[in-house]
């Protein structure tokens, strides 16, 4: 019992659970009378995934989606940085931003779809708009909270050494609010994925091979259930990769090391 507990306390316990889930999955697919159209076995999913990788565009579609998320996140980070900096400086702007957040944050991007189609159209721009909309508001909330959490004496120290405002922001404010910025980025990343997949499912390829959302949608309309799962596997895989090799590493190098987490 102790040994088992010890195993699940390790950092790789996630992977043990994944293996257990896969075993249960396969058992259900094989041992119960479910239709493979509803519950395909791992071999079928694996074959579909391999086939999509070898003969299809799934890797490029994945890169396309990740590229969109990346661009969307950068726009979101820059915009939220500007907006939260301004709202920390000016109380007038702060009340404006607060109003925007209470109006727009609860609005799912997908609910705005009819308007986006009319105003922006249906291309990559529209998908980017949905991504930025879904990441911007929670990130502003996080960044503003981060800036507000900075001890006032940090500003005094910066002034004491006669630093320029830019230097105070980049050398003191940003590292000081980094735990909040990372938390905001994590939320942004998760929301950007969701927004991208749902927008791609609706807007389709729009001039290229499309993204992973389009792949899944296509598998669905052509009733290729193992293909749907192949797409999901790719998304889960990307999610774990980014979580374990990007956010965890960043946190280890920063907030964990600084004792801020």
């Amino acid at each position: 019992m102790q040994n088992i507990k010890a195993i699940f306390n390790k950092s790789y316990s996630k992977y043990i659970w994944i293996v257990i889930i896969l075993i249960v999955w396969e058992a259900v697919a094989k041992l119960t009378p479910v239709s493979p159209l509803v519950f395909p076995s791992l071999e079928l999913i694996g074959a579909a995934l391999l086939n999509s990788i070898l003969t299809g565009d799934i890797l490029f579609q994945m890169l396309f989606s990740l590229g969109l998320i990346f661009v969307g996140l950068i726009i979101g980070v820059v915009l939220s940085f500007v907006m939260s900096s301004l709202s920390v400086i000016s109380p007038v702007f702060e009340s404006f931003v607060d109003t925007c957040i209470s109006i727009f944050d609860p609005l799912p991007g997908i609910a705005l779809l009819p308007l986006i189609i009319l105003w922006i159209g249906t291309g990559t721009k529209a998908i980017l708009f949905i991504i930025v909309h879904s990441v911007l508001w929670p990130m502003i909330l996080n960044m503003t909270a981060g800036f507000k959490s900075i001890p006032t004496i940090y500003k005094k120290i910066g002034q004491n050494y006669e630093f320029s405002s830019a230097k105070i922001i980049f050398k003191i404010y940003i590292p000081a609010s980094l735990p909040y910025l990372i938390a905001g980025l994590k939320i942004g990343w998760a929301r950007a994925w969701r927004a991208t997949i749902s927008a791609e499912m609706i807007f389709g390829a729009s001039g290229g091979i499309g993204g992973i959302g389009w792949y899944i949608f296509n598998r669905r309309v052509f009733m290729d259930t193992p293909g749907i799962f192949a797409g999901l596997v790719m998304i889960v895989f990307a999610g774990i990769l980014v979580e374990d090799f990007f956010f965890v590493k960043i946190e280890e190098k920063t907030v964990k090391k600084w004792g801020l987490s």
């Binding site: 001890p151 004496i153 940090y154 005094k156 120290i157 002034q159 004491n160 050494y161 006669e162 630093f163 230097k167 050398k171 003191i172 590292p175 000081a176 980094l178 920063t254 090391k257 600084w258 004792g259 801020l260």
Partner: protein, 237 residues
């Protein structure tokens, strides 16, 4: 001795009420001045005015003949709060921070040399690669003092820097501070509400009361019970 700071006719109002009125004070170069007084008497306000962190309502403050209008590098403040250190920098990184980002550029060798010197002075050489969250309160304040001194300012402003420390650590830091003062001869303005601390450290003690300088005491004999009694007498209402 020449004067470093001259304060004339200084007044500061909060919500229309004068917290400091018509203060005249000169601080000589190399002096260790403690400002004491009951809480709310404006000690910290006076220190922040000298540092240029807040604006005065009337009067003037000069630092070596130049009017003080904003915070400046020649008057570095050390705070009571432990979180005045940057958690994302090591002890050494914190001490080097003002040098690395200084408008006046320091060479790499000079930065190394200065940070080593002051880390040595505050006895933190063995802890230079520690992050603030790994330090005790006393070590944090030592780091803050090293960081304040590393740019060799004319004046060190200290706002109850040892107020949150236990007695043992406090007296260790007193000793270190006096050693540093003797070596660097930096002018120190030190605010405290602890009369014994002032008696131990200062050579000049200012008693602030009712918004003005109530008494100025030459503290020639350190830790004297007599002076203690005298001050308590002044402070009682």
């Amino acid at each position: 001795m020449s004067e470093t700071i001259r304060i004339t006719n200084l007044s500061k109002l909060y919500d229309g009420r004068a917290i400091l009125k018509d203060i005249d004070l000169t601080i000589e170069t190399g002096e260790f001045m403690c400002i004491i007084g009951p809480s709310g008497c404006g000690k910290s306000t006076l220190l922040n005015l000298i540092g240029g962190f807040i604006e005065r309502d009337s009067g003037s403050i000069t630092l070596q003949g130049q009017p003080v209008l904003r915070p400046n590098q020649e008057c570095i403040m050390v705070f009571q709060e432990f979180d005045q250190l940057f958690p994302w920098k090591t002890v050494k990184g914190n001490v080097e921070f003002p040098l690395r980002n200084n408008p006046h550029r320091y060479s790499k060798e000079r930065i190394e040399e200065l940070s080593e010197t002051y880390l040595d002075m505050v006895k933190l050489k063995d802890f230079k690669d520690f992050y603030p969250h790994q330090l005790s309160g006393g070590m944090k304040q030592r780091t803050a003092i090293a960081r304040a001194l590393v740019t060799t300012p004319k004046v060190l402003l200290m706002d109850e820097p040892f107020g949150s420390l236990d007695i043992q650590t406090k007296s260790e830091l007193h000793q270190t501070l006096l050693e540093i003062w003797k070596r660097t001869r930096t002018t120190i303005v030190f605010v405290t509400h602890d009369v014994r601390e002032a008696l131990h450290l200062a050579d000049q003690i200012i008693i602030l009361k009712d918004g003005g300088v109530y008494q100025r005491i030459e503290n020639n004999i350190k830790d004297s019970e007599e002076t203690m009694k005298k001050i308590m007498g002044f402070l009682s209402p």
